[in-house]
Structure formats: structure tokens, C-alpha cells
Amino acid sequence: MKLSYKWLSEYVDLHDITPEELADRMTTAGLEVEGIEKAASGTNLVIGEVLECWDHPDSDHLHVTKTKIGPNPEDVTQIVCGAPNCRAGLKVITALPGSELPVGKIGAKPVRGQESNGMLCSLSELGVPKSWQSEYQLAGIEELPADAPVGETNVIGYLGLDDTILDVSLTPNRADCSSMWNMAKEVGAILDRKVTWPDYEGCADKGTPTDFKVSLATDKCSCFYGKVVNHVEVGPSPEWLVRCLHAAGMNSINNVVDISNFVMLETGQPLHYYNLAKLPAHEITVVDDRDMKMTALDGVEFDIQKGDLLITTGGEATGIAGIMGGEESMIDENTTAIFIEAASFNPVSVRRTSIRLNLLTEAAQRFTKGVEPLGMHKAVDRSVQLLEKYCNASGFEETVVAGCENYTPVTVTETLSHCNALLGTAFTMEQVKDVLRRLDFAPEVNGDEIISHIPSYRTDIERQADIDEEVIRLIGFDSLGSTLPMMEATVGMKTPAQKMRDTTRDIMSGFALHEIVTYTLVSDDYIRSAYQPVGEAVELAMPMSEARRFVRTSLMNSVLECLQYNEAHQNVNNNVFEISTVYGKGIEGERLAVALDGKIADDPLHHTVKEGDFYALKGILCAWLERLGYSGSRIQVKENRTDTEHFHPYRSAELWLDKNLLGVFGEVHPAYAKKFDLKRTAYAEIDLKPVFGGRTSKIHYAPLDRYPSVSRDIALVVRTEVTAKEILDVVRKFGKKLVRSSEIFDVYEGEHVEKGYKSVALRIIYAAGDHTLKEEEIAGAHGAIVDNLRKALNAELRS
């Protein structure tokens, strides 16, 4: 809200408080001032008169003037001016050399060879907003009235522009402060100063009997005040009124319309004045059951639907209630009689209609936030008072009232002890009572109790907590101490799943992976090509763009897109992971995505270079699961029978934990990778539910072997199809209890090995817990293994 300091000071004495101080006090009390701007500014200004004006000899648009700037005959100076309206006889705003204006500093220097001692100014050059000025004013220098006193140096004061505009951000609960009168009350409470409203009450009580009828055909209009004024004189508004409207960000139209807007700004109650002659009948009905088109004040046609509040007269629509009047009954220069409307329309209804029609007018915004119960009465009284004074209004008929239940003032009873208990303060009754007095809550103290009588405009005050808030914000939050809650002890702990989530991040980042967070909302394409969608995709009713239409059902596309971005930005070894929820209709999942795009170790200097391939990924995934507490035997890697659309059919696998398929991992299918301009990329997407919810294996201590172990290597040649698992299964099965561990440490295909075969080297460690192994024992076990490798796998032993 734009708040004029000058206007405000009509109601509250502000002579000893600057706009900046006021802004601080208001902000501290919850009315945040976001900006402070002077209506106009400039130093070393004087009112002058152009005595002579001739064309500049070396310019097609400049003028040279002799301008009088003081009472004495010698107070005449030469100034060059470029404005088209510059002419002899004009009273002008003159900026003398040394003047500082918002547009810059003014000096005395020749303009194209002609001496020039200052500048003749437009209002814009004094920083006056363009919206406050007419087209004519914007086109040239300001033309002062003929009686303007030459030599007057308080030019801004003379112009009535000695004002400062505070930009106040009102929270939704304080819509009352969008009324100048209520704002004055608020400022009065903050500063503890007396507030004086104009003496307007009862001005509309007069009136001759009327035949004008108002009926309410919907309960969405709870109250309607109407009044016929048979005579008004339309003309320009007085300067002070125009300045007030400008300060509030409104334009001046004519005195009658301006008064309706001014009264709205004063009281907060939107008003509508109709041209009485253009109303087809002396009757108004508020309805909400029409389906029709209607042309509003701004000449645009709108679609009215059932449910929209409409003002009708004689069956015809004359206005969209609370939003905008009809074109037909608009006040114009020929208007001689008017009908005043001040009503209360349902905020929800007005809000819906104004959003649908995209008509967020001042009135609509005020109705949306709700008007105060006594607003209509105030607005009609004040309208009559101002119309009489500034529009020569007469011929008032009595006020027509429809609806309008009797207003019952709200009282709220709070106790000092409850207030202090909620705030954690030790305020005295005197302090609390003082705040409520300043707010005009007429506090009544009764022991520990304090009863507040809430003024009609403070519709936000309903219960004790509201009173407590007023107390603390007006006494000031500086009085609040800092304590920690005194309460029953609680155990703060992360759940096992929460701990595992943290651990997963630690493990993954420990493997040189970088965590990413990508957007939840994705395109239709990403949904259609999703890897293992968790369910049927959830679609937004009104997406902001096609790229963000669905809630993602899987992470793969988002993660690959991130790799694509990083490659495009010359980042290498883009190894990332993401932990995120995914959603389908009625289902929530949580997944871990891991992507290796580049090398997982990249140090050629020290000969440690490792591609981020299937095996790198498998190593990471298995180590992660084991580290979380799942012993190796519970983790299985099986042939990929799930998804060969996204994955390389021969370089991918399924990852299982017990009986749960966690997901597929491996090289992204080259055809799919190409979609994201990727080459060889390894990717895994793991369902975290079974992982975070599973029973982990306990740490098991076994005494260390006391007897030495013996290591034996075997070199085999087997057919290429024979898997490592098949070989190790034989070792495990026939090595009996003596095999402590077995591992494959080399696999070789190529020269010296027949095509279709591979050479495999494995190392077996033998030991017994209770004695040193004898050579015969080892030979027995080793021999059994070798024999069975031959039998089961057709393996040939290399020397």
C-alpha cells in the first residue's frame, strides 16, 4: 500500500517524526515499510517567469529565455530551454545553478554558444512519478498558475508535492490498514498519539422518502446501502484531492468519481456510484444466477457465469458486483444525478470471479480480503458530506438498506497470566492495559482478567492469542527473553532408515560420487520412457510447462539429463548419485540412482586409471550393501531379465537382496544413451524400500586363526561361457572346511589361448582352526577341487 505521509498527518500529529523514523516504528510493529520515496525533490529552486523567449539561433527546437527569478528588476537571468511549450509570460519552476535534482546537478554553462544559467523544469525532472501527470505535463515544462509568486523558493511546498510516500507491505490479516483512517489508528497506537477522523457521522441521515428499491436474491450479498442523489455537478477535482489519489496510485477522473475512490481509500469500503439517469429502473437486485455477456466500465466484454455476483436493475445487468461497474451507467461529464452503492459482497465469490475474469480491480482486492461490518455506513455518510461540499450535491433521498444484520461489537477476554504464559514474559497489567488503550480496545480490567472491546474494523481480532500478539508487537519484541522449553525430556534419534540414508550418502561420496538433486516434475516423454516406473504417473491439473507436467516415476531420465548437461559443460568423470522419492498414483517409492560417466579413478601419473564400467558399479553397489549390514551371501547378481530397453543386454544385471529385486544396473544401452548424447555410461537405479527396511546382519566375532594358512594358485583354461560363479561354486563345494577364501585374480583371453576359451587364475587359501595343515590334507582338498573343476566345467589345468 502506498501511504502518503502528508495525508496521514491530517489525522495524527507527525510534526516531530520524520518519514524515516515513522517507517522504522511501523516496521517494528509489523507493518513492513519496503520503500520510502519523496513525491518530488530538488534544491535551489525558485518560481520564475519567462519575460522573453526567442528561438535559439543554432537549434531547431531550443529556446533562449530571459527569466525573472526575483522581485527586483535585476533578478533576470538567461536560460536556454528545450521544451516545446516554453513561451513568454509563463510562470515556471526554475532550477538555479548548483541545484541538485533527481536527474542530476544543474550548472551555468552555455548551450550551443548561448549563455544559460540553470534550467526550466518539468515535474518529471523533480522526480514526480509519470502516473501523477497528464500527457500535456509529460510533454513539456510545468506551467504554473498565473498568480504563482515569482521568487518563491519553497517550490515543492507551493506545488503541494512536499510529501513522502511510504510503500507498506500489509500482511493478509491487516487488510484494515488499507484504509487511511484505520492506518491512522494503527500509527496512533504505535506512536501512542491521538487520532482524529473527520467529523462525518450522520451526514447521510437526511433525505426525502424514496421509491428506489433494493433486493438481494442471493445470500452472497449480506448488506447493501443505496442512496439517490438527485443533483450533482460534475467537474474537475480540487488539487488536494488529486494529490491524495495520486499518492495512493490512482488517477483523477472527475470530482464525483474521485470522491467515490477517495472515500474508499479513507474508509476501506469500496463504493460504486451509478449515473441515475442511465439506470433503467429505480430498482436494484443482486443476483448470482445469470449466464450472459456483459460490457464493463473499461469497454471489455466479459463472460458471466452462474455463481458470479451481478448487479441488475430492471432485469438488466449493470455491474459485476464488487469488481467493476457497467459501461452504460458510468458517471460522465453529463451526469447530473447519481445512485450510491456501498455493499458487502462475499469475499470468496468476488475472488473467484475476479480471478476467472482476470479483473483484479482495487475494489475486488478489497472485497476479497473482506470489508468491515460498519464500512458501508461510514462510506455513505462520508460520501454525502464530500459530494455536498465539492459537487454541490443536493436532492438526497433517504438511504435504502437491504440485508445488514445488526452489528454486535466483539469482545475478547484474556487474562494477564495466560498472556504472560504464552509469551514467556512478565508484563504488568498496566503495560497490557496501556497497549489495549492505545489500540482503542477500551480495556476493562477485572482482577487478572482484561476485557477488550474490539473496534469494528479490527476483524482480525477474535481470540486471546490475537490480543497477546497485539501486546507483544506494541510493547516490542526486544522485551522478550530467550529461554529453552522446560518440558518432559524427549529422546532425539534418527530412525534406522534415516541413519541408513545418511550412511548411504557417506558411502557414495566416499566412492568419489557427487550427490545431485534433480527436479521432481518431468515431461510426458520422460514418463513414457521411464525405467521401471513405480506406478501410473501422477499428472498436474495445470502444469506451468510441458517439461514439468508429471511427477516422476523413476529417476533415470533426470539423472542422464544431468550427465548430458555436465558433458556439454566440459566436465569429465561425471560420477553422481541421487536419493529421491518417486511417485505413482497411490504409491510412493524411494530410490537410489548411481551413474558413472567417465573414469572412477583417473591418475595416469601413478598408473591408476579405472573406467566407471559395469564392474566399478558392481563393486560400489555390493560394498554399499555390505557396509549397510547385508552380508555378501544375501546379495545376488543375476542375469538381467527385467530391462534391456535401457540397459546393454550383455553388460547389465539384476541386483537382488534376499528375495527382493532391487533394480537393474550396468551399461546404459547405447541406443538409449544416445538420446542424452552419452557414450559408455554405467547406471543403477535401486529400490531403497527393501534396503532401508530390511533386517541387517549383526557383526559376528570369530577368534582369529592360530595356525598358519597356506595359499595355492590354480590356472585353468575353460570355455568362455563358464562364469566365475560356476568356478567358485566348485571350489566352495569340494574344498570342504579347509578353504578359508578363494578369489579369481586373473582372466585372460587372446594370444596363447584357443579361441572360445579363456584362461582363469584363482587363488585358494587353506587353513584349519585347530592345527597346522599337513601337506597331505592340503593335497587332498586341492586335488578334489581340481578334479571336480575338470569334471564339472571341462576345465583344463595349465601348468
Binding site: 517494528t28 509489523g30 470468496v348 480471478i355 480480503k369 504464559a421 504464552l422 509469551l423 514467556g424 514474559t425 486471546q464 492469542a465 497477546d468 500478539e469 507483544i472 508487537r473 519484541f477 522478550l480 527473553g481 530467550s482 529461554t483 529453552l484 522449553p485 518440558m487 518432559e488 524427549t490 529422546v491 532425539g492 534418527k494 530412525t495 534415516q498 550418502r505 557417506d506 561420496s509 566416499g510 568419489a512 560420487l513 557427487h514 550427490e515 538433486v517 534433480t518 527436479y519 521432481t520 516434475l521 498436474l540 491439473a541 495445470m542 506451468m544 514439468r548 511427477v551 548437461y565 566436465n571 553422481v576 548419485f577 522419492t581 511417485y583 510412493e588 579413478a601 601413478h606 591408476t608
Partner: protein
């Protein structure tokens, strides 16, 4: 004869002293201590001495032998130390070459801040609540005192899925679920971090997806001063010691009184700088006392209990803490950006 002993001794000791290599020393050892060496020769000469002189002479020769072998041993040690030095010198490496490149991954900055907050509040006895991002209107709005057609629910702000379902616009939805789940049982002391969504065009300061961490405490005598103390403690942990907290009145539908919370600027210590726009204060979060109506609709008696709630924007806090100027960085995931956050800080 004694002269000869002395002569051998001085000659031998000098030779040992001057000897420059292990090989030479070995020859000296043979020459003096060997079976045919000078000392052995002297021993042989003893036979020709009169009987009474033999013991004295023998003793002298033994002393000579001990002195020479001791000198050789000593010299041996000196020489082999030198040879080790030489061998090690030949093994010299360039210590200025980089060590093995040991890449360390990173945790996303928003997750770092989230964990920091979680650890902080868990330490104060809070639990961590979880809840769905695809949420019911009921929890996101109705229970939070934002009934249908409340201006805070403008269609522009919320991603609706159908009239009853939406993407949660604030983590308050989780608070409401927890209040409901508690069935009126006290105390409640939790935080609820998570992703939230609003209809905002993405730019340097807006994101349609962002993260919040809200806190909720409900008990028998919870006060506004408790809220201040709690947040002051948190601010000091998050932004370093000496932080002060300032409350300014504000409005949220689910709290009353409601406050905006400023922290004294950690960059200039409240003196005024460009980060705090020369005010000495930075707005970090919104908070307030749980609105009595929220307590009532969730089955608590506002006469018997009270509570506070606060909501932290993780992006804002992270941006403040590290001076990040564009919120989109968090979701673009440029590795150059992510690698900046290589430690808990």
C-alpha cells in the same frame, strides 16, 4: 720388540683411519689381523723371547690386536653408513609430484545443511518426521488453518493434481500429520525437512521446487521466549557463535503470534554490509506460536497446551551461508558447483 709393536699399532691405526672403502678395509683386516698378518707375525716372534718376557709381550700384542680390530670395526661402521647413504641417494624421488589422486565425492549442499540441522535438533531431543510430497489438501491446507478460498491458496501458488490432492507447498503438511498422529498426546518435538513445490517461474531467486525444514514443539508450558531461545541456539550453531536473533511481527495462518526472524549478520557481525543491505540483520525464517485453532482442529486443547513452530528455507540458508547468488545452481548440478561443497562446514 716393544718398539715394533708400537710401530705396527701406529701404522695400522693410521691406515684404518685413512681407509676409504670397505674393500680396502677388508685388506687391512687381512694384513693386520689375518692368519699371516702383522700381528700374528709378532705373536710368532714371541717364541724367541726369554721366558720371563713372554707374558708381558703377549699382553701387549693382545692389546694391539684389540685396538686394531676395534679401529677396524669403528671404521667399518662409518664406511657402511656412507655406502647406505649413497644407495639411498640414488633412490631419490621428486616429492613435488602430486600424490595419488584420491577423488573424494561430495554431498549436495542442501543435504549438507539438512543434515547439519537434523543433527543440531536431534541433539536437542527432536525426532525427524517424514511425509509424502504428493499430499492431500486436508493436511497441506485444511488442518493448517487455511480453509478453501483462503487467499493464501491462490491457484497460482499450488500445483494441484485434483481438487483434493496437490504437491505439498510447505512442510507444514508433515506437522499436521504428526499432530493428528499424536492424538492429543504430549509432548511433540520434531522437525520435518523435505522438498516442497510452488508455482513459481524459475529464476535467480525463485524455484518451483525447493526444500524446507520446519520444527514443531507442543507441550504444557511452551512460550514465545522458548521459540526465541531455540532459534538463537540454532543460529549460533549454523552461523557461528555470537549471533543474535530479532523478531518482527508477521502473519502466517497457522501461527499466532507470528514473527519473521532475523539473525545478526554473520558477515559483518551486525555492523552493516552488502549482504545484509547495511541493516546488520538478515531475515532467515518465519515462526510463531501454533495457532490455537490449529491445535483445536488437531485434537489439542489450547487451554492446556501451547506450542511453537518455525520454518527454515534450506536454499535461502545455504545461499546465505556460502554467498550463493543463484538458486538454480542447486538443481543444475554442475559438478564444478557441487565440488565446492567437499566437507561439512
Amino acid at each position: 720388540m716393544s718398539d715394533k709393536i708400537e710401530q705396527v699399532q701406529s701404522e695400522a691405526l693410521r691406515a684404518v683411519e685413512e681407509c676409504g672403502s670397505a674393500e680396502e678395509l677388508q685388506q687391512l683386516r687381512i694384513r693386520y689381523l689375518g692368519k699371516k698378518g702383522s700381528i700374528q707375525e709378532l705373536m710368532a716372534e714371541m717364541k724367541s723371547l726369554p721366558k720371563e718376557e713372554k707374558p708381558a709381550f703377549g699382553q701387549k700384542v693382545n692389546l694391539l690386536k684389540a685396538a686394531v680390530s676395534q679401529a677396524i670395526e669403528a671404521r667399518q661402521e662409518v664406511l657402511s653408513a656412507g655406502e647406505m647413504d649413497a644407495r639411498l641417494a640414488a633412490e631419490k624421488i621428486d616429492i613435488t609430484l602430486p600424490g595419488n589422486r584420491t577423488e573424494i565425492g561430495t554431498i549436495h549442499p542442501l543435504q549438507l545443511i539438512r543434515r547439519e540441522l537434523e543433527d543440531l535438533f536431534v541433539g536437542m531431543g527432536y525426532t525427524i518426521a517424514e511425509g509424502p510430497e504428493v499430499e492431500l489438501d486436508h493436511y497441506n491446507f485444511e488442518l493448517a488453518n487455511i480453509p478453501k478460498d483462503h487467499p493464501a491458496r491462490d491457484m497460482q501458488d499450488t500445483f494441484y493434481i485434483d481438487p483434493n490432492t496437490l504437491l505439498r507447498t510447505h512442510t507444514t503438511a508433515m506437522q499436521m500429520r504428526e499432530l493428528e498422529k499424536a492424538e492429543g498426546k504430549l509432548p511433540i518435538k520434531l522437525i520435518c525437512p523435505g522438498k516442497v513445490y510452488r508455482r513459481d517461474d524459475d529464476d535467480a531467486t525463485h524455484s518451483h521446487q525447493f526444500m524446507q525444514c520446519e520444527g514443531l514443539v507442543v507441550g504444557e508450558h511452551i512460550t514465545l521466549a522458548d521459540l526465541k531461545g531455540t532459534l538463537e541456539y540454532a543460529a549460533n550453531v549454523m552461523f557461528g557463535g555470537g549471533r543474535k536473533i530479532r523478531f518482527r511481527p508477521s502473519y502466517f495462518p497457522f501461527t499466532e503470534p507470528s514473527v519473521e526472524v532475523d539473525v545478526s549478520c554473520p558477515f559483518c557481525n551486525g555492523k552493516g554490509c552488502s549482504v545484509c543491505k547495511h541493516s546488520g540483520w538478515i531475515e532467515i525464517l518465519g515462526a510463531g506460536m501454533v495457532h490455537p485453532h490449529v491445535l483445536e482442529i488437531n485434537g489439542f486443547d489450547p487451554e492446556k497446551c501451547s506450542g511453537f513452530a518455525f520454518g527454515i528455507g534450506l536454499e535461502r540458508m545455504t545461499m546465505l551461508k556460502y554467498g550463493i547468488d543463484d538458486i538454480r545452481n542447486f538443481y543444475t548440478n554442475d559438478l564444478r558447483f557441487l565440488k565446492t561443497f567437499d566437507r561439512f562446514d
